[in-house]
Symmetry: C2
């Protein structure tokens, strides 16, 4: 009977330590004018594809770096590296999310020093990453059309804590019963301040709007520095 209570205590302790470290990280990033975007979503939602398309559009306009987190494998890091963008891999072992201590270690890597914009690809998971503040200056959830428009009902925390929802794989819409307006209705009930982009990395739909939003975040961060 005692075990579940003990778990909750430990978890609260961990979450509180984590939040403290995340706040420190965020203060440090703001002082340097670095935007760190925590990109979350299910496995296969298209997080890395979004990162690759973002690099293609913003390379040369911002100094970009990437943190790729996966339980195993370097496949996504290799795709990023081939663009010439510095990338640091977090191999979480079994862990189902990225926490502030992992991001702190990654940001200390010389490759990421002095970057304007760091894109963090979290572990593919619509549950656990929502609970852990990584120190990012913005949180983004990517939900792909094939996953279905009911996901905010089942995974409300993720949609509540995110600044941006990117609806990805819009090119699948014609094959699907997915209703973007139903999705937005569900999401806005949880989070009135969320910004929504509809994108397709295959057709390019919506990617300029998404990148324009990222640039605004960068400017804001630089303005905060002065």
């Amino acid at each position: 009977m005692a075990t579940p209570i003990r778990v909750i205590e430990v978890k609260e302790e961990i979450l509180s330590d984590n939040e403290h470290l995340a706040d420190e990280t965020r203060d440090g990033l703001r002082a340097k004018g670095t935007t760190l975007v925590n990109i979350m979503g299910s496995p296969g939602a298209g997080k890395t594809s979004l990162i690759l398309e973002t690099i293609r559009r913003l390379q040369g306009r911002r100094a970009i770096g990437v943190i790729e987190a996966d339980i195993e494998s370097l496949v996504d890091s290799e795709r990023v590296r081939s663009t010439g963008t510095p990338v640091v891999q977090i191999r979480t072992g079994g862990a189902c999310h990225v926490d502030a201590s992992m991001v702190k270690l990654a940001l200390e890597a010389p490759d990421l020093d002095g970057r304007d914009l760091v894109l963090l690809k979290n572990v593919g998971n619509l549950v656990c990453p929502a609970e852990f503040d990584t120190g990012a200056t913005a949180r983004v959830v990517v939900l792909s059309v094939p996953e279905g428009d009911d996901k905010p009902l089942k995974y409300p925390l993720m949609f509540s804590v995110s600044d941006v929802l990117v609806i990805s794989k819009m090119d699948y819409l014609s094959l699907s019963e997915f209703d973007p307006s139903a999705l937005k209705r569900h999401v806005l009930q949880l989070n009135r301040d969320i910004t929504v982009f509809e994108v397709s990395c295959r057709t390019g739909e919506g990617l300029d709007e998404w990148c324009a939003w990222l640039l605004t975040r960068g400017v804001a961060a630089h303005a905060n520095r002065s």
Copy 2:
């Protein structure tokens, strides 16, 4: 510095308690000739659609029950209930997986008493549910074509512990770079004994084969009883 060590200890204790309870549950199910199938996969992989199509094909041939687990919402339970099949909902609150104690409680519900086949839809998550034995007599991972064929590289545990891989949404194949033979190669490196089905709940592809496999499991469970 002490915190992470403490976490690991607690987690091992929990996992060991959980395994003990899962073994007890499985023994009880075998004694009754009940097959309990733990269906796991990412959000939107098509777990509930697979359950609904299975009910459609096996209703009348087996007494079926369903356990639907979600962090929030009853939407999937309502879809199952509309088929006339008994369903018990596990609302996990924040929890990212189902464990043996939750399943034990669900199986005690009168609605599920005397069922031949109980289909457990786990929380949508390709990570955490793989760590927790629920007491099921078979484990199934559902991976949809839009998620990509590289997922076993990034989430190896799920594919290592599963008895069956159901590749779902095969009707999306023409729109995708998904390579079923690459997926199978990755999976078989982790798990030589896994059985693979390629299905589409939209076109019906592969569903008869999947149901035939389920019937075999049922027969085996009944045979064990004698």
